[in-house]
């Protein structure tokens, strides 16, 4: 089936089998391997991407369902080589250890900050409760998301993606 997906702002077309999962469309057809496959059972959130701005688990959606829609992966967070505030904050606050969950964590965090710029500890933990960090480095992940919120609030509107 012929599909067109806007991925990280760029329109891409592909001819895929309907049974191809969105995560495999992203990784294997579009070659964007920043989105990870963790559990492959909708639990871990490593494969989280934004579909029209909302976090979804791309292992539990078919690629054809993204036809005509907009997908943001971790590769789409940066703008012209400038890290997105959430990426900068994960770096600054040591928000990752092995890094496997990180792309999902950052996308979920970025989506949270879109509607809540200064979330409490509890609000962050609630928002990322569908993303598992097997290194258990949650303390710094929470800090990083909050720090990103602060830096986004300080920057003039529209300065980030």
């Amino acid at each position: 089936m012929q599909i067109t997906v806007t991925i990280n702002g760029q329109e891409r077309t592909a001819d895929v089998e309907p049974r191809l999962l969105l995560v495999h469309l992203i990784r294997e057809v579009f070659g964007l391997t920043g989105t990870h496959v963790g559990c492959d059972t909708t639990h871990c959130g490593a494969c989280t991407v934004l579909l029209d701005g909302l976090p979804v688990k791309s292992c539990t959606m078919f690629g054809v369902q993204a036809d005509g829609r907009s997908v943001t992966t971790v590769e789409g967070l940066q703008t012209n080589g400038q890290l997105h505030p959430i990426q900068a904050a994960f770096k600054e606050e040591h928000g990752l250890q092995c890094g496997f969950c990180t792309s999902g964590m950052m996308l979920t965090g970025a989506a949270l900050l879109e509607h809540n710029a200064s979330p409490s500890d509890e609000e962050v933990r609630w928002a990322i409760s569908g993303n598992i960090c097997r290194c258990t480095g949650y303390m710094n992940i929470v800090k990083a998301i909050q720090a990103a919120g602060h830096s986004m609030a300080e920057e003039p509107a529209g300065a980030q993606a």
């Binding site: 049974r19 492959d40 976090p55 979804v56 959606m61 054809v64 369902q65 928002a127 569908g130």
Partner: protein, 289 residues
């Protein structure tokens, strides 16, 4: 994991979807949120020849009240229900259940009608609908019928829906004055299936319980309506003794199995505790309403 091959259909209207279900019958399955269906396809427990994706049918989206009913269209997501002021203010059992389903990301896609049609005894909406007296509207090419949720579940993952029927709407009667509700869920961790869940809905009248609804999650082959417990509450003054008796009756109605989430005895005990807490919470809301 790669599901078996299937033909993908993406109707944009309800009529088109109904037509596809008629054409392919047993060989077609409806894809809504996909949060249970796609995992089943990946495990090859489900291998439909045709998948009818109803996510782009705009008629199937929205929450409203009219003619005495709350109407939640089939493809309304759990998170949309969680965010609805109408539901949180008037249907507290639903408002309490929505944010306890799966995890926040799954709730962005999972739908209320998909959950009911899936017929999982560990599904949360089934119990809530049993407590609230909810019903679903099922449509097929020959017409439409209303199925009370009490008559929807047959056994594990088996419902009275016909293969060519599509749930278009979930309906809940408008609450009477002085009503309240609650949903309590025990899970080992976020995203796990319920160990036990209990939904309660109550209406008060002059210090007496006018009507009561109690639904149980994950303690039997289907969601269970705890009828004897409901009957114990209805017409009575909700004293601690009455509530305790009703909770005991609800625990007796539960038919849990021992598994990795707990022993049958433990789950029965949790039902009893949750009915007591759920009734207390529902009363608190009803008194303030």
């Amino acid at each position: 994991m790669l599901p078996a091959r299937f033909e993908y259909h993406r109707p944009e209207t309800l009529d088109e979807a109904i037509g596809l279900l008629k054409e392919h019958g047993d060989d077609a399955k409806v894809l809504a949120g996909g949060m249970s269906f796609i995992p089943l396809m990946k495990l090859r427990f489900a291998q439909p020849g045709h998948v009818v994706d109803v996510n782009r049918i705009s008629e199937l989206n929205g929450i409203s009240e009219s003619d005495g009913w709350l109407r939640v269209k089939a493809v309304t997501r759990h998170n949309e229900i969680h965010a609805s002021d109408l539901i949180n203010s008037r249907y507290p059992a639903m408002g309490a259940a929505a944010p306890q389903i799966a995890d926040p990301i799954v709730r962005n896609l999972g739908t209320i009608a998909g959950s009911l049609a899936h017929g999982d005894p560990a599904g949360d909406w089934g119990s809530v609908m049993l407590a609230l007296g909810g019903q679903v509207v099922a449509r097929r090419s020959s017409g439409e019928r209303v199925i009370p949720v009490e008559e929807l579940f047959v056994s594990n993952f088996a419902t009275t829906l016909e293969p060519d029927e599509l749930i278009t709407e979930v309906q809940v009667p408008n609450p009477e004055p002085r009503s309240g509700g609650a949903y309590l869920k025990l899970e080992r961790k976020v995203g796990d299936f319920a160990t036990v869940g209990v939904a309660v809905q109550l209406t008060l009248d002059d210090g007496h319980v006018k009507s009561a609804g109690i639904g149980l999650t994950a303690v039997g082959p289907t969601n269970i309506k705890a009828r004897e417990a409901e009957a114990r509450l209805a017409g009575s003054e909700p004293t601690d003794d009455v509530i305790a008796e009703a909770a005991g009756l609800a625990a007796q109605a539960a038919q849990p199995m021992s598994d990795l989430r707990g022993s049958a005895d433990y789950k029965q005990h949790v039902v009893e505790v949750f009915v007591r807490r759920g009734v207390a919470r529902a009363l608190e809301i009803a008194k303030g309403a």
